[in-house]
Amino acid sequence: MTLSITVNGKRHQVDASPETPLLYVLRDDLGLNGAKYGCGLGQCGACTVQLDGKAIFSCITPVSAVGDRPVRTVEGLGTVDRMSPLQQAFRDEQAAQCGYCIAGMIMRAQALLDADPRPDEAKIRAHMQTNLCRCGTHMRILRAIRRVAGLPSDGAAA
């Protein structure tokens, strides 16, 4: 069936069965790479996007549940030439190894910073707890988020 969703400020008509996870609509119908398949179970966060400003797991969110609420993916933050402050912070900290988790990390962290531009260290760690990184890039990811949150780089509050 034809469904209508708004992604990164743009309205799209997609042909998908209503139970299709948003992840597959983003990747296969809209050709977006940012959200990744990691587990399909909402356990790893590689598929994280924002729905109405909140970080959600797109792998367990049926496209029919999206309705009129806006979806934002990492592609909606910035581009290689015009990165958002958080993307730029990830670049400055070289906060990626394989990078497969990173788009999800950025979208989850952005949701926190949108709601609370000055979170403390404990709040950042608790908020990021849902997202897995297997390369062990956590210390750099935390530094990148601190950079935008205006916290000292070493996370002295930890």
Binding site: A16, S17, T20, P21, Y24, R27, D28, G31, L32, N33, G34, K36, Y37, G38, C39, G40, L41, Q43, C44, A46, T73, V74, E75, L77, G78, T79, V80, M83, Q87, F90, R91, Q94, A96, Q97, C98, G99, Y100, C101, I102, A103, I106, I124, R125, A126, M128, Q129, N131, L132, C133, R134, C135, G136, T137, H138, M139, R140, L142, D154, G155, A158
Partner: protein
Amino acid sequence: MNLDRRQLLAGGGLLVAFSMAGHGLAQLAGGGEGGAAPRPVRPDLPGSLKSNPVLDSWVHIAPDGRITVFSGKAELGQGIRTALLQVAAEELDVPPGAIDLVTADTARTPDEGLTAGSHSMQDGGTAIANACANVRMLLTRTAAKRWRAAADMLTTNGKAQVTAPDGRSLGYGALAADLSLHVEAIPNAPRRDPRHYRTLGHDLPRVDIPAKLTGGAAYVQDLRLPGMLHARVVRGPSYGTRLAKPQLDRARKMPGVVAVIENGRFTAVVAEKEWQAIQAMRVAQDSDYVRDLPLLPVAEGPHRLQKLPTREIQVLDTHDGAKPVWKTVRGSYSRPWYSHGSIGPSCAVALAKDGGLTLWSHSQGVFDMHRAVAELVGLPPEKVRCIHTPSAGCYGQNGADDVTAEAGLIAMALPGRPIRLQWMREQEFGWEPCGCGMVTRVEAAIGPDKRIAHWTYEVWSNSHNNRPVGAGGYAVAQEISPGFPAPPPKPIPMPEGDGDRNANPLYVFPNMDVRYHFVPEMPLRVSALRSLGAHLNVFTIESVLDELALAGGVDPLAFRLAHMQDARARAVMIEATNRFGWAKRPRGDGRRGCGMAFARYKNIGAYCAIAMEIEVERETGAITVHRVQAAVDAGQPASPDGIRNQVEGGILQSLSWATREAVTYDATRRTSFDWGSYPILRFEEVPGSVAVHVMDRPGDPFLGAGETAQGPTSAALANAIADATGARLRDMPLTPEVVKAAIGV
């Protein structure tokens, strides 16, 4: 060496001697893993130039000055693309942006064997450095000829130009037009002076990161070829099982299903859209399963290995005369089977067209793969092209090879349509080769002089190298009909070793008896996981050193230094502990404690010392790591920040292995199939701080650093727990339950 000499060798007896001498070198191209890389034809050349000595297989310069560099090594998330680019830019003396780097493509790049074993900088980086130094030398000579000047009066300026003292300059593009690079390298082309490095040793931002931050097409998962179909394999819950009655007729009727592939017991569904393929797979898998292999060792865990037949390998047997014994320490150590735990399940794209097969794969061994898949699908190897395309970090042999072979089989059944196959999360956990469960046993003693008097060490392990070098190495090879038998497992010989990797201490101990009980029979499917056996061997050795130091009343750092003669090993231990503040560290008080550990990876790679401070919550056994300080000597660093990134990652991954990870199973199947049943370290559990100091070693040979932290980190943790609580924990994972039980709260 010029072509004439090569021809002379090919016709003469010298060739035999050279290829014999080279055989051992060839085996070690990827840390001894995978198949033999191509035979060395020029053993006098450094790194991978030995087997690919002709310069134009490494470097091409177009008339417009655009430079292409070719490498057989693959980007696995370790940053090798950027490091190799830095090496090439430095030795060509051009800006990094002037170079296009082509990596690991069987149709385009030199065969450098596997990207594994921390060999990429040592072999691939060294080859590119010397190939580019050769090219810079030839460009300079060409300019000298054109200007009728002496070559040693000319220089390069970092901008892809040769310059003369009078200010004249010529671009590389113009010079290359007069120059054939279809010549063999010489072994001693002048390298750039480390004092004047423009790129090497500097923190060049990684070239692959911007796309990964912005949703660029960065992974094999992101390939979208015209007409591409999506496939899923239909399988039992884990390796060694099959579905009793897969519901294929029901799957065929599902929306979007294009084909159901059946070949022996291998079954896959193919659909127009990915979600349709997943739904069809779920329907098809609605079946009980049957186990075809021996039952899993539920009660014994890795100690099962000690009851299986072994092949005995004597690693060390030294006799220095009996020394008086004062105190003796005995212990058995173990680790469980681990999952690689890649965040992205394995994925490949395959296209059968015009009698050939093209594979886009994140395998570490595309060169082995194009031969092995050719055998599997019945094509000549030259008809199979394999292009490495990045994916989530693999840390060893995960499902990358299997999923590519399976995509290849599906594509051969549906020629003309690109096939994208991705494993599901539970298939990755269930079917990938695990990191080996292992057991060690030690008896060691100190004399009245507080020095080690004798050292007896045993390790039990399966092969860590079951990478497919022929069709039989893929799990699917035993499912299809007719199938291919799995090849017999083999250990990797020292100095690389596999189960015995780092079982030979770098320390100077007298009277050493080190044995590797190699166990061919594999209770679980296993292959390479980052650092292979070095993880448990270093964990064991460094734990025992602390036990002996405690018995002798000697500080753990002083005890190590007393047994270490290698100056670079001493230097990293001193650097890490100085930066940590070892002398003034808080002493174990029941809760807080500090530990250190050291290893040189394989005794031939990078040196790594770790010190850490932890706290144990006695009521729960939970461990908090407050701070970690590492020092690493990787020779000349290409990018110090690249090394820091790798070592930080290794530290966190090793902490995760040591504190919480274990593949679980019942008698018939693996039961860790998701992140709930296979938990790994999350943000609230990572250390308060991690600092990695990279030693400055200008111009020294590259030493692979990607795996160097795995052993020392787990060992430093166990030593810190022992310092904090008095409890020596020997069997990983050191979960809160284990810690709590050991401290008897």
